[in-house]
Subunit: 205 residues, 2 copies
């Protein structure tokens, strides 16, 4: 059964390196040879494991990107506390540059979303579904926050979720190259102001 291990190992190396380079240079701007060269693998090896470049990227999405988004943005929402600080923390953490060897800035939804939009419907759909899951989870946690009296009653939770997602995606655009720590700080600051504005005012004025 060592063959099976080898298979998984090679596929995993391909996916990990692929994500890294696709994120760095963009999907359409990266050739398979670019990736293969770095891994010292051949065309044959690649097509033995994946049926096309597209299939390959879908595997990457499902195995790596989804997990990353869940770990950074969805799972942290699973608590019973006031959701706003939790959300704030998760966003701040997701914008953190990766440690050492890790990929910079956690991940790259906005980049891929933009790149595939109108160019590859199938991949776009996969990516949008990820956002959708995040959104649904945000909305649900916000609604609970409303019930628990942390969020003002007149607030539109779907709107808040949309707004949070938009600002986050946009920040990722601005942080792009930029090692500007300032930007992230500014973002978190303003998000706090915003969250303040949708917080339930203590009934005992």
């Amino acid at each position: 059964m060592e063959k099976n291990l080898k298979r998984r190992e090679t596929m995993h190396r391909l996916c990990a390196k692929g994500l890294e380079i696709f994120h760095e240079k963009g999907y359409y701007n990266t050739s398979l040879d670019d990736i293969l060269k770095e891994l010292e693998l051949s065309k044959g090896a690649f097509y033995h494991h994946f049926k096309s470049k597209e299939d390959y990227f879908i595997t990457i999405i499902q195995n790596l990107i989804v997990q990353k988004v869940y770990a950074l943005l969805v799972e942290p929402l699973n608590t019973q506390e006031n959701p706003l600080p939790i959300i704030l923390d998760s966003l701040e953490n997701a914008l953190e540059p990766g440690k050492r060897n890790e990929m910079a800035y956690g991940f790259m939804l906005n980049d891929f979303l933009t790149e595939f939009n109108k160019r590859n419907l199938e991949i776009s759909t996969y990516l949008k579904d990820i956002i959708k899951v995040w959104e649904v989870n945000l909305v649900s946690v916000l609604k609970r926050g409303k019930i628990d009296g942390h969020i003002a009653r007149h607030i539109d939770c779907e709107g808040v979720a949309t707004y949070i997602i938009a600002s986050y995606l946009g920040m990722r655009s601005l942080l792009m190259d930029n090692t500007n720590r300032q930007l992230k700080y500014q973002y978190v600051q303003q998000l706090k102001h915003y969250f303040n504005s949708i917080t339930e005012r203590s009934v005992i004025a």
Copy 2:
């Protein structure tokens, strides 16, 4: 001097159609032939007017994109009123789908910014400069708003500008394909909440 007219006319047709298709399918994913076919022009015509595809796109940025951003996002800021409603209006307007033949959703800074990031430094720089000008103008109008007593004194204007830009760029990602009018409405709603939170509370109270 009719030759000169012809020249300008052809170059303009090329730029306009180029922007349209680049925006639709992405720069790297659009071949010159795609554009030339639609205009019924030849390779020869193209290279008679532009020295490369890159040069061509830079011309498009300078002639069309810059103007669009100015018209939609910078010039409206030139008033003496309370800046927050003005900014709100300009953003709402900029997210408006174009009338009939016009390009959908005004323009496409975020898309190009993402596409060229780390792939073409020169073009990236041009695009970032556009954002920079917008930012500078936002900051200056916000600072005036503070002086005029519309914005709370403790607010960090640079932070506000960054946050506004981020949320706007992100919205453009979400609105992408989507004809979802709801999204835009939600965005404007939440932006109002946010603006409320940075508004100077009436001193009398």
